[in-house]
Amino acid sequence: MTPFTNFQSRIVPLPLNNIDTDQIIPARFLKTTSKLGLDAQLFCDWRYDAAGNPNPDFVLNQPLARGAQVLLAGDNFGCGSSREHAPWALTQFGFRAVISTSFADIFRQNSLKNSLLPIAIPPDAHADLLAAVAANPDATVAIDLPRQKLTLPGGREVEFPVDEFSKHCLVNGVDELGYILQQEPAIAAFEAAHPAAINTLG
């Protein structure tokens, strides 16, 4: 996994609650067997019209989205399907963080495994940030993961939660599977003490 470094970026506002993973990437694109090539399908049905032309009203098609690395969404972002294609599409488009007031559980876990930082902040800070972006689309936020601080355009610092383990993995680019496989003795001991109830092969 790519180590997550501190950065500063403009913000793409998409202030809707309950944006589900079917919107982030529609199911018809899940027939792929690869992780790659999903950036063009990000928010596809909001981003393009019926003829496949970019919808000029959609924020990803506006100049401010170019090069921006932070998506600002509404409550319960990433609800619905467990598809990891959602964080794959977001990161391939160029996003490195999503800011919201809350995230769906599976989406949050999937994001953390793909160097995409889900930043949950209190509603008042979220409202401040939305207002700042509305007033100045070129406004930026700064993200400091080791200190767990988000600096809003006006300079206000907001702390955000990340568990120690995920932070360690993100900052150092540590892959969770490597850590799990290091626990082989504990896994072997557990399996020796707990015979399986089933055998799918039998």
Partner: protein, 466 residues
Amino acid sequence: MPRTIIEKLWDSHVVYERAGAPTLLHIDLHLVHEVTSPQAFQGLRDRGLKVRRPDLTLATADHSIPTTDRSLPIADQIAARQLAQLETNCAEFGIRCLGIRSDWQGVVHIVGPELGLTQPGMTVVCGDSHTATHGAFGALAFGIGTSEVEQVLASQCLLQRKSKSFQVRVDGKLRPGVAAKDIILALIARIGVGGGTGSVFEFTGSAIGGLSMEERMTVCNMSIEGGARAGLIAPDDTTFQYLSGRAHAPQGAAWDAALASWKQLPTDEGAAYDRSVAIDAEALEPMITYGTNPGMGLPIGAPLPDPAQLADPMERESVTKALKYMGLEGGRPLLGHAIDVVFIGSCTNGRISDLRAAAGVLQGRKVSPKVRVLVVPGSQEVKRQAIAEGLPEIFRAAGCQWREPGCSMCIAMNGDQLSPGEYSVSTSNRNFEGRQGKGGRTFLASPLTAAASAITGVVTDVRTML
């Protein structure tokens, strides 16, 4: 210290704990399907890893599989490649695969229980958010992403953080025309699609105790639609009776031993939940969703919300946006709204009792000539049982299409889909924009409501037909 069933399930699967890190939990059953697994198998190849426990892993083809004549080649080449890849991956890594030619192929959450693989006290995972279905057996069952699929394939373990416990107590008796689906739609309408985030539901109460295993699966299935990590029901005699004699259920002395341990699972007297809600089953009516998430649901005769009356600006905006997408006006009920398609099937409502319920309404009646009705059994076993009971004849005589098993129009990956602007009454689990086909509009409801609406061609209260 009294414990909930959720805590008991957690405690009995802890492999390794260390301060500052999530707990390593062992997984008893890993279910795999074609859509969320190919990148995980590729990950194993890239790292030179094997599948640690093929004996605890089972694959089936369901999401992108056609529901039309299986003797014909698959028209969609991309889907065909994905399905072939599943079989190749399973052969290479030694996993049993219930592929397109298998007599046991079906929707992953229907196949596990009917084979007796899903058992009380287990941890069950699948790269699919409706894995909570298996919680109906008193298992801790939850959906995972593809990176986690790879982790479980490689290690049979997952790093997890403890969820909160959320009791959903449903007491009383359901009235005629009201189904298990209405319980879960009513819960989600009440707590919202994020209401259960960070939690595991335990469904308790006399109404839950009175449900069959298939009805319990319907309730647990949609836990994710309330934001919960999982949903489960403590095992009881209904559970044990369902399991007894199934292909992979324990037998003889092993059955007796299993039964003794399963009986220790229910939540202890006096155990505390982090949160509880109560639902009066007697007061429930048939539910239907009107909007673009499963929390936007109402009793079928109730008027839709009027955005102008909503105080919270974000809620007003989301209801306004949903009504616009759905082509609906606030303030009026959905009853009588014309529909184009009815879909009966999915991991939520594609089991034999669902087909029986729909057939009961459709028997001796004709569906509206304006409505296309797809009946999709959840598995080959459900299909066999339906044939044995003569259900396909009832569906065909009524004018419905009787299809091959798969996820079909629940996720619309396989060509079964709505056209832009079309309305469906669907027994599936999600009404998100485009979920059943780009531009399609979904009303979620029970098989009873779906069958009644198929006959009239408009959203219909099944109680007028009983």
